[in-house]
Symmetry: C2
Subunit: 491 residues, 2 copies
């Protein structure tokens, strides 16, 4: 046994325990009896305590010291990179600070939920101030003199910087604003008006999951309040939700989560329960969920097939033909809420959060001024004013639980999806012929080969570059959105 | 913080982790996608490795040394007793032997399953020989010079001995054999002949669970191949199964598992996630499942109510009246399989396994002679010969996975249930009036107060003595069975 073998054996057990903790989370959202919550909190805390102890275990440092990276292959070096990054991160943050963040964010979530219910930002502001101060302290410990926000980003999108993101997002904003303004002046497609049986939605949603290559022998589909994907390797479960008047919520939540799950299911099995055996970053993860959901799932070709499936499942639901259906699916609509936004406007929500949270971290913006800053920026980008805090600054849970640096990965994912989509279309010119039959296998096969199978072997940016032959850029996404919505709205 | 506080804080985390491991087991039997099995094996092994390390942690020994038991109350002393017993057990067995047992029994289970499918005991015999040799070695390490089988018993029924069980079982055998012979000569009640819709069975089974006080806000009912109860404290889940032609399989599996679950749900909440926060032994556990299932669930009064519920759920199912239904439920039938045996014959199966496994452990019986010994004993007790190994010596998984000393707890449970039932009837003379209304609350309330709430505070034998005012004995069970089946079969 070399020191690398020892480290990997230890790590394999850690990864297995981490999967167990993830499964507990899945259970909590799907199966757990409601009265079990207090006990579950102790079970989760015990698992986290075990995992933390392993992350900062002295023998990990010893092994890391002894290993000669030059003797390893690409995969070995990638594993080492992940382990070293986790170890450094865990050991740089003082235990007392980590414990304090855990406690404060756990309480903050409840305070946020109550503030949101009361549309009362002021009652949440002191808590948010504390969360940001603590996360800033953590960021300083991690940054070791470098940029604090950049250090925060590494937890979600290793290798990227705030400046890099700012450049890309800055280029996206005016194009999307203009496109959005033009769309809003054009004639809108109709909406769905019928009611859709929920068991039939679940049946069709499972069919959609399979159509997108979701492997039911290594996963399952259940209902949850907020859809999510959970687990890596041989056990990757997804959830969705149903709403009688909005079956697209169910179907596109499923396709989105199948994108995440396909990434985890599609990683080379040789990497099972190793550090590279998971999706490499939140951004690349989101690129998979978004390209499944939007570039493929909301394409004219695929919605043509979906229209037929919905007719079979629900009969005549008031949409006359496939072309109208395509327009209904891609309808651009006003709203305040990020998670309900359409493909065109979604990124405007994210760009705004990125700028605001970066300003909060850098002290350029104070929490006391956050609500006003939010409302002004929203009005500037969307053309109407936020009517209440739950539709504005209080809508997302993220900041309350200390997620700073997470929001931009949503739009990075869209941006990566744009890059991958151009490369995919170039590689498979007749893709629409297959999508029109409900056959996504060529598309998902290409993504599996060029993105998913690698897991964490390459850094996020490198994944996109290797798959597309080019550095990530906002341009492909902007070309795609402009072409799609100009055509849809006859601009 | 006293050393006791430190120990208990550590132990609380261990108990939480043990609950997590249990929940993984539940998931495996109910929800897990089939392709996840290899990964799950690693997850379970990682959890067991964490739990083992905690059981033999040096700081536990240090705390145990420092604590002055005289300063503790009853509960504290009981917690200490459990922790010390676990620590001694875990540290007496050499790690290499424990690992070998884990590996061999894991393989043995597959070999047993194949041998059973082929009705070929010879192909399993070498493996069983190895399992018994390893478990004997473990037993010797645990016995420290004492009786090896007694040492094995401590894992399942602390405080009891083989000699004590032999005396009770020896007294049971002739009485049950005679009763059985008389019943077989009498006229048999009819059988069910209709078919019973499975969703309706599940609906009624949940109603039955609630009727027996199962708390759905701290549990849930799912289907599994082999019914079981899982978890302690605030999350105690049960499973059942359905069979279109045999709804009793579903209903009485549920009631049985509710008995186990009620024990765990009924433990004083002050003991949550502490060593005394679980059922004290397999025997006392089985006393709860059996008294729910048999003495209450198969009573004339309760089956009268159940008959009405089944008429409501299934319409006329070919049983004319409640009295006939009572006889159908309690029908004594020939068979080879322990788990399918009726209340009267079940213990004859267990007594036989107890004698055989004790002889195997003491070298009085060789594995090579086990099948013949089984078949001869079966013929002596049941009056007909085993037709094939899967109906005989290969029917149970227990020995293959190294469970030696476990079988007798099934009949100990029945014996304890007999004791508790006499005390319960004496305490609540009009119990049948309530049972006839489907109201088990007085019965389950008495059991909760006198047995369940104590968890592991008292030793198993003491639990029964405190509840009944008498030492455990086979006599109440024999009186109950003799009276019930003499009356049922007009002997």
């Amino acid at each position: 046994m070399t020191p690398y073998d020892d480290l990997m054996a230890f790590q394999r057990e850690t990864e297995a325990l981490s999967q167990v903790a993830g499964r507990l989370g899945w259970d909590q959202e799907t199966m757990m009896p409601r009265g079990a919550a207090p006990q579950r909190a102790e079970e989760m805390a015990a698992m986290q305590s075990v995992l933390h102890a392993r992350r900062v275990a002295p023998q990990v440092a010893e092994w890391l010291e002894k290993i000669d990276a030059a003797t390893l292959d690409d995969v070995g070096r990638a594993n080492l990179r992940h382990i070293r990054r986790d170890y450094d991160r865990a050991s740089r943050v003082p235990a007392a600070l980590a414990a304090r963040i855990a406690r404060v964010t756990s309480e903050a979530q409840g305070i946020w939920a109550e503030a949101r219910a009361n549309d009362d930002f002021a009652s949440f502001a002191p808590t948010l101030t504390e969360v940001i101060a603590l996360k800033r302290e953590e960021g300083q410990a991690l940054a070791a003199g470098g940029d604090v926000y950049d250090a925060m980003l590494q937890d979600y999108e290793p290798g990227t910087t705030g400046a890099e993101i700012e450049a890309m997002f800055g280029a996206m904003r005016p194009v999307m604003s203009d496109l959005r303004a033009a769309v809003r002046e054009a004639e809108a497609p109709p909406r769905l008006t019928h009611s859709f049986d929920e068991p039939a939605q679940m049946k069709l949603t499972r069919q959609l999951a399979r159509a997108f290559g979701y492997d039911m022998s290594h996963g399952r589909v259940d209902k949850a309040v907020h859809p999510f994907s959970s687990g890596s390797g041989l056990d990757v479960r997804i959830t969705t939700r149903t709403n009688e008047t909005d079956p697209f919520n169910c179907f596109y939540s499923t396709i989105h989560e199948v994108g995440h799950a396909a990434y985890e299911q599609g990683i080379d099995r040789a990497h099972l329960l190793t550090p590279v055996g998971q999706g490499v970053s939140m951004g690349v993860h989101e690129s998979q969920s978004r390209i499944y959901e939007n570039q493929i799932g909301r394409s004219r070709a695929f919605t043509g097939w979906l229209y037929g499936q919905m007719r079979e499942a629900f009969g005549d639901f008031g949409v006359a033909d496939a072309e109208t259906f395509y327009r209904v699916v891609n309808r651009v609509h006003d709203g305040y809420i990020r998670t309900e936004a359409d493909e065109l406007q979604y990124n405007l929500h994210v760009l705004m959060r990125f700028d605001l949270e970066r300003a909060l971290v850098s002290h350029d913006l104070q929490v006391a001024d956050l609500e006003a800053a939010w409302n002004d920026r929203f009005e500037a980008d969307f053309g109407y004013r936020v009517d209440r805090a739950s539709n504005g600054v209080l809508q997302d849970v993220h900041w309350s639980v200390g997620l700073l640096g997470y929001f931009p990965t949503y739009s990075l994912g869209n941006l990566y999806a744009g890059c991958l989509h151009e490369a995919l279309r170039a590689a498979i010119p007749d893709l629409d012929v297959q999508l029109a039959q409900g056959d996504t296998s060529a598309a998902t096969g290409w993504l599996r080969e060029h993105v998913q199978s690698h897991g964490g072997v390459f850094e996020p940016r490198e994944v996109i570059e290797r798959a597309t032959g080019q550095a990530p850029s906002e341009e492909p996404l902007l070309r795609y959105l402009t072409a799609k919505f100009s055509e849809l709205y006859s601009l």
